[in-house]
Symmetry: C2
Subunit: 234 residues, 2 copies
């Protein structure tokens, strides 16, 4: 994986198992770029993180030759533009196809991801059911967007693929924990096949946390949130 | 304003007085592009709107030679890429400066705009105060982002300028209605001067609704929301 980044210094501030960090790593690996992964402890953020992302103080941050780029979807476009000769482009050259990709990448964060907290941590059973319904509705919309293509990017993985691909472990772990079928072979067969296809990419094998680890992490988070809620109620 | 769009057909589905529609119009006017404005009634959406934006069913939608582009920030980037020879570029060519512009454009929607509903329609006084605090915090962050430049885009208005510029009437009207100083000459002098400077652009004069109209519209919306809440409580 050396070479294509030449004299460039690329540092990724991340934390396990963030889907937002994973999507950036997927892009870096797909493009064959060499980078240094710097593990952040979000309970005790480093001076580098606070200086690099003073506004949100969140990972991922990509630092390229000293310039810090924040927000995962902004980082993905940056990688594409700053390294035009590395690997396949994440975004198509055609402005309309590019707009369609940006639309769906935003949709994934605004509708699919945004429904996770209500689905898992909603206060009432109704709220949680409504959250899961929103997730399934978003999955159906994504099924339509994918259509008959192997990837959202067409013949190769692009922006929408890495944005959604980084979420695959969260989806699988949520399916295990709730019993819901999100990438459902019956309801959304194209999306279910896409998830299998994406998961078989070398980059996915290299980057994505395994589902068992994700399940344990989510159980731990649930337990911590329950304990905090209990303590606050006392 | 003719000429630069040549044989192109540009149709903008919009509604008055949407800041999201206004930012697209600002970009079209700044770039000197000719377009047809199609007024949508959101209480009775047209077949064209439903067919053009089946996912969100919202304005703005820009239809370019039959291709529909949705979501205001996606539309802005599309305009820049589809009409590279029309007017100044909204986004800088340098990938890092481009990433910084995208970061702040997203910030405006995620932090500044997102605090409006809590600030105006929060259920408790505390919720409303917290919403206004978030708005002012975001304004201070934007002050820092602007720095000593006349525009966020540098010497000319760019992506961040039209995104925030479309919100100026909403900001002014909110200042009138709540008494809060948002673009405050004391707290955020650079941002306050920017708003005056942006407001003096020909494009702003052509596109932005006047503040009195915006105030009346917001009062009407408030009254309608209060009536709906009262009806629901009975």
């Amino acid at each position: 994986m050396a070479g294509s980044s030449g004299e460039e210094e690329l540092k990724l501030l991340g934390t396990w198992p963030s889907p937002f960090v994973a999507r950036v790593e997927l892009a870096l690996v797909l493009k064959g770029l060499t980078y240094e992964y710097v593990k952040e402890d979000l309970a005790s953020k480093s001076g580098l993180l606070l200086a690099s992302n003073p506004v949100h103080q969140m990972v991922p941050v990509l630092i390229h030759n000293g310039n810090a780029v924040c927000e995962s979807r902004v980082i993905l476009e940056y990688i594409d533009e700053a390294f035009p000769d590395a690997g396949d482009a994440l975004l198509p050259a055609d402005p309309y196809r590019c707009a369609v990709a940006r639309f769906w990448a935003a949709y994934i964060d605004d509708k699919f991801v945004a429904s996770w907290m209500p689905a898992l941590r909603g206060k009432t059973e109704e709220e949680r059911a409504e959250g899961m319904k929103q997730i399934l509705t978003a999955a159906e919309a994504l099924e339509g967007a994918l259509g008959g293509n192997p990837f959202f990017g067409g013949r190769a993985a692009g922006l929408v693929d890495v944005v959604l691909g980084g979420l695959i472990p969260l989806v699988r772990a949520t399916e295990v924990l709730t019993g819901a079928a999100i990438f459902d072979a019956a309801r959304t067969p194209l999306l279910a096949a896409w998830a299998d296809r994406f998961g078989q990419l070398d980059a996915a094998g290299e980057v994505l946390p395994d589902v068992d680890g994700m399940v344990e992490y989510m159980k731990m988070r649930e337990a911590a949130a329950d304990a905090a809620a209990k303590a606050a109620a006392n």
